[in-house]
Subunit: 340 residues, 2 copies
Amino acid sequence: MKKKLTLKQIARELDVSVSTVSKALRDSAEISEDTRQKIKAFAKLYNYKPNNIALSLKNRKTKTIGVIIPEIVHHFFTTVISGIEQVANERGYHVIICMSNNSFDKEVINMELLANGSTDGFIISVAKETQQKQDYHHLNEVVNQGMPLVMFDRVIDEINCDKVIIDDTIGAKKAVQKLIDLGSKNIGIITTVDYVSVGKLRTEGYYKALRENNIEVNEDLILRVEDFDRSEEEIKAFLSQRKVDGLFAVNEHFAIYAIKAVQEQGLKVPEDVSVIGFTDGELSKQFMPSLTTVSQHGAEMGAQAARLLIRKLENTEMEEGPHQTIIIETGLVERNSTKH
Amino acid sequence: MKKKLTLKQIARELDVSVSTVSKALRDSAEISEDTRQKIKAFAKLYNYKPNNIALSLKNRKTKTIGVIIPEIVHHFFTTVISGIEQVANERGYHVIICMSNNSFDKEVINMELLANGSTDGFIISVAKETQQKQDYHHLNEVVNQGMPLVMFDRVIDEINCDKVIIDDTIGAKKAVQKLIDLGSKNIGIITTVDYVSVGKLRTEGYYKALRENNIEVNEDLILRVEDFDRSEEEIKAFLSQRKVDGLFAVNEHFAIYAIKAVQEQGLKVPEDVSVIGFTDGELSKQFMPSLTTVSQHGAEMGAQAARLLIRKLENTEMEEGPHQTIIIETGLVERNSTKH
């Protein structure tokens, strides 16, 4: 039996990136003629067949939805999946989940794997690395061949497909407005580096709220966490040198670390510092003080994504129609980390 | 194009259970001759093909591992998956995840789906309902046809396959021994109903620790939570009528609810009541007081399961060999919910 090669193996053998192999096999002009020929010859020699989306479309009947998420040890993504599962099951669809682990290569490989006849369509939230690289050829490929694709949360504006997002900017603005209404004068934000789209949008909400209230933005009160594994230390160091009375954190963990850092300084939450987070996980609910937070409605997001995808799958006339973007409204869940 | 029927659709059409259809198509003697013929005729009429494990074995080359877990909004299972992913990726395997949602039917359907040529082998933790029903025909089917299967955490003794478990009983015993060593006299346990195998094993550990220390078991101090969605209320009601100075909870949530219930009574953790949980999730780490807990080493469990499966996949001679059960040792992580 001849061994079947994978994209990754070809890339390793020829010492090029997975993306280069993937593009070369699709005759992308981005790859030099020379490299393209070399890769195609190698793939042919080893009988490599790129994913045959057209074929699987013709026989579209797997009744299976492929879901690709960036990480799994993450409450938000698991709640989105539970929402997808519920709608899919009601409608007689199976759900298969793959993880990109925030790696561009893994995302490309997973899409290749699932497009290969196992699924009728995709629901995807892209990897951080894909956002950084801005290499979307694998997503364009799927769309161009007419395979239904729905993006959620971390979406790419340039891709023509249905999308489900939350109003990250408005949600963040609401949170910061709440801090202002509570009387906070020095409001800090703990956010991520800007290439993570949701972090960027939430930071915009912070700017907007301040501007609309004629509060000057003090860049010194903005922490952009670079290394997630060291976020607790970064937050502690940041807060030890700033005097704030309000804090908005773009996720639940940053918010909890912020509360702990504030308390270690002998200050009280919410009496001295009000803290608002983003995402409504178990930690927000159970922590004491429980966390006031912008709720993302993950399950609702998943349910809407599944509905959009199944509609496209079951109504072939719609395939060419205009794409929708559904914006799920965020809510502010008031708990005990802000004054009442 | 003729529509492809699924197991579930056949079951619905003929008004029988998914399990009955699945067994009838495999000529199980458990199903009456009459029903078997009816189901087989119907399946034939609609061109239904049961999963062709033998076929996929012959061409075993998907380099894909199918993982079936009971729930996804659950820290432990997501850490197991991260461990599976890591080893699988290092070895050039893809991972596809399906969720049974603790439903027996969904578990059967998912195995059918993935066995159908998409995967080389399975890693599975069975659904609560499967444990209740004690219907293991789908697992036996896979094993009998020689498709490698590794069970983890919620395993079934009767199935001959590799297994990865933790020493639930020993882990629980360690926790209760710790409470005894700390001087607790009235030690309660918050556990699950007995058909959930890990809950049962952990409860055994509680009994053992008490017996070995010549402490009489007081059944009145044992709460078996029946309805997970109402566990917080059940725990509060239970503790309001008992006087305990030590508590062992078989999971992290029960432990957190117990701490809150104790505090609401005006008592202090750990001064008045020491509390130990099981599982080492984010909640245990971040909660205040942080939770002393029996760590399950989910990622290690996943890594071992992946290693066992890949070994079977790559060494055909081993296929018939004896099966292994790897027991991952638990550790007691001491934090602030027990006295120091």
